[in-house]
């Protein structure tokens, strides 16, 4: 149902003459995130410049029963920042200020549209950084990172976004502007901040974020090891973790990715290797030296072909160059791909990689791998040609089978990208009806009308409905009823 003219006019009054996009071609830009498979343009795009405007938009939409969809930079990979049911999209791009830097208390308060990397740039001269580092960090917004609880290579040691969020300012689906958590620890009451991070806009719209900043470590060391095959590299990953070493990052690339990267970016990854591990250690200098030596030894023990240790910052940057450009290099492999984000317990990496090869062969699809091996977070790229519908079907079947294999090994549907429209249908693989129903009711506390980013995160499933009652334990016979 398109918006009435009266609603559009009221939005224009709230936002001013240049705060609203409603031309067809203007809205088209906003019809999808980077998972371009899912498309849905909003009826209008609102570009508020402060929390008061955001609150006014939500209150208006609530009154009119219109869906509200948040959007940061649109770099998500899940069909999140798009409007399957139309409505008002709220772009946070104009709210991009750093409101406060408080290095004594190791935190910053920023508006949601601030680009992730800009925050680190604002404090790095003084020795600080913002830890969550999704590959999109040059363009993705902190509000978007909060919405999806984004990860990144260095989350292995430092944790994902939620571990760095101290407080939020949020306009809830009920239209209330609330401040949750804050700079000082130990707020009494439920951890509303913690549960709101990763809620993908289904609780409301974030208007400010207080994040933890970390001090850069004394030393950093990067090691690149190549292996004859991905299984040997997986064994090395498991052995490093089992040895009690938590690197800052522990990334793996397979032979398909190595070729694509070498051709595309000029990074000089070992040719002919079946897999490459990129290991980064940081911390006290003495500890880092010892751990780097230990990691190198483990790699040799597990059959490494070559181990390179970066001697300086320039060499370190070169080792990372290929990894950082991996997403771009994929374009030269196939016209399109399905991207997975499942997680397995890291000790199961060798087993899941064997399974992955078998699944690829069974469905006759090529699967490229570049992923966060240290925490078991897979990113298989299932390559296909979208001009061939039959190939897409095979890619989808392989994707589904791989996801089920990960969950059967004790893993989860998503490690860092989030759920969105894309993976909502997969949640019942991981959660029982009672668990889904708990989430459904939780969402209702923040967004009673369920207008905030509809169709995202929660599946269309009987357990996610008003009438559903989870099975309760049977009481003993002879009880009073």
């Amino acid at each position: 149902m398109p918006l009435t003219r009266a609603v559009v006019e009221e939005l224009a009054r709230i936002l001013g003459p240049d705060g609203l996009i409603h031309s067809a071609e203007g809205r088209l830009v906003y019809e999808c995130d980077m998972h371009a498979f899912y498309k849905g343009a909003p009826d209008v795009v609102a570009l508020p410049s402060d929390a008061a405007q955001v609150q006014a938009i939500v209150r208006l939409c609530r009154r009119e029963g219109v869906p509200v969809v948040p959007r940061g930079s649109g770099t998500g990979l899940i069909g999140g920042a798009m409007a399957p049911a139309g409505g008002v999209m709220v772009g946070t791009n104009r709210m991009d200020r750093i409101l406060e830097l408080d290095l004594v208390n190791r935190c910053a308060t920023v508006e949601p549209g601030l680009i992730n990397l800009w925050l680190t740039r604002a404090v790095q001269d003084r020795g600080w950084f913002f830890a969550p580092d999704p590959s999109s960090q040059m363009v993705s917004s902190i509000g978007g990172n909060v919405g999806t609880n984004a990860g990144g290579p260095h989350c292995l040691k430092y944790g994902i976004t939620v571990n760095h969020v101290l407080g939020l300012e949020l306009v809830t689906g009920a239209g209330e502007l609330v401040r949750l958590g804050g700079k000082v620890a130990e707020r009494p009451g439920y951890d509303l901040t913690g549960v709101a991070v990763g809620s993908e806009g289904t609780f409301g719209l974030v208007t400010a974020v207080t994040v933890r900043l970390l001090h850069v470590a004394e030393a950093v060391k990067t090691v690149l090891a190549s292996f004859p095959d991905i299984e040997a590299a997986s064994e090395a990953v498991s052995a490093i973790i089992a040895a009690g070493i938590i690197p800052a990052a522990l990334e793996m690339l397979d032979d398909i990715m190595i070729r694509a990267i070498n051709e595309g970016s000029g990074a000089d990854y070992p040719k002919g290797a079946g897999a490459v591990l990129l290991i980064e250690l940081d911390g006290p200098a003495a500890e880092v030296e010892a751990q780097a030596a230990r990691c190198a030894a483990i790699c040799w023990e597990r059959g490494a072909l070559e181990v390179r240790v970066a001697r300086d910052e320039a060499e370190r940057a070169l080792l990372w160059k290929g990894r950082k450009e991996a997403a771009g290099a994929v374009g030269r492999l196939a016209p399109t791909y399905l991207l997975q984000d499942a997680v397995v317990p890291r000790s199961k990496l060798p087993a899941i990689m064997r399974e992955l090869v078998a699944i690829g062969a069974r469905h006759r699809v090529q699967i490229a791998n570049v992923f966060h091996a240290g925490d078991g977070n897979l990113h298989p790229l299932i390559l296909y040609d979208d001009r061939n519908p039959e190939e897409l079907e095979r890619a989808k079947a392989a994707n589904e089978e791989l996801l089920r294999a990960c969950i059967a090994m004790g893993g989860t549907v998503s490690g860092e990208h989030g759920i969105g429209l894309d993976k909502a249908k997969n949640l019942p693989l991981e959660y029982a009806d009672a668990d889904l129903n708990f989430m459904y009711r939780l969402r209702g506390v923040f967004d009673p009308q369920r207008l905030m980013n509809p169709q995202k995160l929660l599946p269309s499933h009987p357990a996610c409905g008003e009438g559903f009652r989870p099975a309760r334990p049977r009481l003993p016979d002879g009880a009073w009823i």
Partner: protein, 425 residues
């Protein structure tokens, strides 16, 4: 049909068996919470039994007080009602320890000490060390969001709890989170259970992230002539590439109790030995003196930190620590304090014990830390003291309404720990 105590008792007995249920006067009196004597004490041996008890309690309108070791029963408001005490110490198994994944799944009634002894075999660590943690259950530590000195490096349960199996107020067994170290599949339900005092569900099983035990450490005692100098050292330490495991700030009284001092205040920091020289240099620059810390310091500190009938946690900024120490000393000459300075926390044992005197101290401290967004929570105090003040302190109307909404959604009949939580939830 009317519910009678007799029929409830029969159903409980059928659920738990005679070994799992007590209703004799002595057992009930021992289980009293703030003077409220429950009608039953249930000691479930399985999570299924917990589900059954809660389903029954829910339908019969009973108030249930879940408990572990009982060390935090004096946290929060005195309960509004307490019909049944649910003693979870029987659920104490390690269900799945995967050393190569650095994760463990345990039943919530296991003590941190029992788990630590198991993990030690592979030099692994659950870095959760509030005073007395060894005897406390992990369910209790989670429900109270307890933290100790290691918080400086490893954070809190928020950073450690990956998954949780809990029983909702109506007896429905529910799982949230994941068993792997990284997951964003659905809402982060475990966050909701941390520090919730069991008011949204009874914790049954916990999946936790473990850490490798750190390599050889040294600890340095940095004494200062004034609290402000100690604070300056903490600020300098945090603004350096050093990676301390613990950064505890102690006032003069706590220092004395630990057999050290005399000094106005001191910071004990520990880190890998190789960073020792840098710690010493920073301390000298901040105008403090440095000495090695006695071998048994942490054991002494833990013992002293569990003392006191009235204990508070004062949360302020790192830049508010010195002012808080000064205010504590002025408000109560018999107080002593020590806490995780890296996060601006001070745990205070008060000298005063009379309800009006405690209320006055708490009010003064709250007034001091409120502008910076801080607060004061009474961690432990006799019932009369907690009845004379709000042990949690003020919570803004917006968040409080959401908290009430959560309680209404998940425990509308107020089965779980009614009255004890923030806002009387």
């Amino acid at each position: 049909m009317a519910v009678t105590a007799r029929s409830i008792a029969g159903a409980l007995l059928a659920l738990l068996g005679p070994e799992g249920l007590s209703d004799d006067d002595a057992s009930r009196a021992r289980a009293a919470v703030d003077g409220l004597v429950p009608r039953w004490v249930a000691r479930p041996a399985s999570l299924e039994q917990v589900c059954g008890v809660l389903a029954l309690a829910h339908d019969a309108g009973l108030a249930v007080v879940p408990r572990g070791s009982g060390s935090s029963l004096e946290l929060g408001h005195p309960p509004a009602r307490a019909d049944l005490v649910l003693d979870l110490r029987g659920l104490d198994r390690v269900l799945e320890w995967s050393p190569d994944d650095l994760t463990v799944t345990v039943e919530a009634g296991i003590t941190a000490g029992a788990l630590a002894r198991r993990l030690d075999a592979r030099r692994q660590l659950l870095p959760l060390d509030p005073p007395g943690a060894g005897a406390r259950t992990l369910g209790g530590l989670t429900a109270t969001n307890a933290s100790g000195p290691l918080r400086a490096r490893y954070g809190t349960l928020r950073d450690l709890l990956l998954g949780v199996r809990f029983v909702q107020a109506d007896g429905v067994l529910t799982w949230g989170g994941a068993k792997v170290v990284k997951s964003v599949s659905g809402y982060d339900v475990p966050k909701l259970m941390i520090g919730a005092l069991g008011t949204l569900g009874v914790l049954g099983e916990l999946t936790l992230r473990l850490h490798p035990r750190p390599e050889a450490e040294g600890a340095w005692l940095v004494t200062a002539a004034r609290p402000a100098d100690a604070q300056a050292f903490v600020v300098a330490l945090l603004d350096s590439p050093l990676q301390p495991n613990r950064v505890e700030l102690l006032d003069g009284a706590m220092l004395g109790a630990c057999g050290l001092g005399p000094a106005a205040a001191a910071v004990v920091a520990d880190a890998v030995r190789a960073q020792g020289e840098a710690v010493v240099a920073l301390a000298r620059r901040a105008g403090s003196t440095v000495a090695p810390t006695p071998e048994d310091f942490w054991a002494r500190y833990e013992r002293e930190a569990t003392r006191g009938d009235v204990r508070l946690r004062v949360a302020t900024g790192v830049d508010g620590l010195a002012a808080a120490l000064d205010a504590i000393a002025r408000a109560d000459g018999g107080a002593r304090a020590g806490g995780c300075a890296a996060h601006g926390l001070l745990d205070v044992a008060l000298g005063v014990a009379e309800p009006p005197a405690v209320a006055a101290v708490v009010a003064r401290l709250r007034e001091l830390v409120a502008p910076a967004g801080g607060g004061v929570v009474v961690q432990r105090a006799p019932r009369a003291v907690r009845a004379a003040l709000d042990p949690w302190g003020p919570v803004d109307a917006g968040p409080l309404a959401l908290m009430r909404g959560l309680k209404d959604a998940f425990d509308p009949r107020r089965v779980l720990n009614p009255g004890r939580f923030v806002g009387g939830l």
